[in-house]
């Protein structure tokens, strides 16, 4: 029975470690890389969607400032981590490098716009927020294109 | 004892695992005292030769507390547990807490009910330690 306890503990520790370490894994081939780009774009779509929702609610007076701020800041951080995660993957071939440059452009752009949105929101700059929202929906279209192409 | 057999007045049967071991010990004041961690029997040498059946050991006490729990667990964890239990003893006496069988008042479905209040039993060392070292020092403990 003691043996069981040890095994159970180990399994739990391994499970937790695997959860923690599963964030970065190397891409194997070109198809795998495309998958990663597609996945990053998909994530970015949702992140932008979340920030847009919060910002629209804030503009409509539906949410209080700290709440919208938090949701937008979370989105901003998530976006940066998506960019960072994709950057950490080594592109396996020339085609992948082209894809990377293209994706990086789009994703970095979106992340930057999320920062703009957060800055405008915190300053209570409604015009700035509207502008950022407009930029974001353009970005969103590009991200979705990327997702479809990848 | 808790089984139907117990309702018969005559000889009643019981199994250690089912009726005694790991049962809750309850003082007459209704307080939880501990668990029955082990049983103590009178030393009866196995019946030799013709005198068969003469020397059935008698249940003398219920044992509880870390020093009874450790051996019950067995293995390395058990040894370790016993060592901790010994540390808690001021005199380092390795004998576990005994609750003589005469103190058993009733064995019910709730557990083994004793004829004395929990405070009069010897196995309150962990209780006293937790109380005097930590709980009593926090305001509002109701001490």
């Amino acid at each position: 029975m003691r043996c069981w306890a040890v095994v159970t503990c180990r399994v739990i520790v391994i499970a937790l470690l695997s959860v923690l370490t599963s964030c970065v894994s190397p891409a194997i081939d070109s198809a795998g890389y495309r998958d990663k780009v597609g996945h990053a774009a998909e994530k970015m779509t949702g992140i932008i969607g979340s920030a847009q929702l919060a910002a629209e609610q804030d503009l409509a007076g539906k949410a209080f400032g700290t709440y919208a701020d938090q949701v937008i800041s979370d989105a901003e951080q998530d976006a940066q981590s998506v960019v960072g995660q994709l950057d950490s993957v080594q592109p396996p071939d020339e085609a992948s490098i082209t894809l990377r440059n293209q994706a990086d452009d789009v994703l970095q752009n979106a992340a930057g716009q999320l920062s703009d949105l957060r800055i405008a929101q915190r300053r209570g700059d409604k015009a700035g927020m509207r502008q950022s929202l407009k930029d974001l929906s353009d970005s969103l279209a590009k991200v979705q294109q990327l997702q479809d192409s990848a | 004892m808790t089984r139907k057999a117990a309702t018969r007045k005559a000889t009643s049967l019981m199994w250690a695992n089912e009726g005694l071991l790991d049962r809750l010990l309850i003082g007459i004041d209704g307080e939880d005292v501990g668990m029955v961690d082990n049983l103590e029997f009178s030393d009866a040498t196995p019946a030799s030769g013709a005198a068969s059946g003469a020397a059935e050991p008698e249940l003398t006490a219920l044992l509880c507390g870390p020093l009874a729990f450790g051996p019950r667990l067995g293995g390395r964890i058990g040894t370790w547990w016993t060592a901790i239990g010994r540390r808690l003893r001021p005199d380092g006496d390795p004998a576990p807490n005994r609750i003589p069988i005469q103190l058993v008042r009733r064995i019910s479905h709730r557990g083994v009910e004793l004829a004395v209040p929990a405070t009069e039993l010897p196995n309150r060392r962990v209780f006293d330690w937790a109380r005097s070292r930590v709980v009593d020092k926090i305001p509002g403990s109701g001490a």
Partner: protein, 110 residues
Amino acid sequence: MKATDLIGCAVYAADGEELGHVHDLRLESDGKPEDGDWRCRLTGLVCGSSAIGHRLGYGTGDMAGPWPLTSLLARWRRRSLTVPWRDVDELQPGRITLRTSRRQLEQMQR
């Protein structure tokens, strides 16, 4: 002598056949604790393959279910063997030797 000195011991018949490990103790008492002067004797060692049935409470058959367990554990229970204490010949740490053979024990239980 403590319960842990017995539970877990390997039990050998007089002819050296291993009968399994002790997993429970059979106790007999006259009357009940509330009658006063309660005495409880150790009359037998339950050995065999597994203690789980008894442990869970399916030893004496006062369980209402659930269905698969009741029959399964009752059958398991029947496979264990109770050795009367008076048949114990020698007690060594971790090892109990009997003065009888498995056949004699099984005949007695019937």
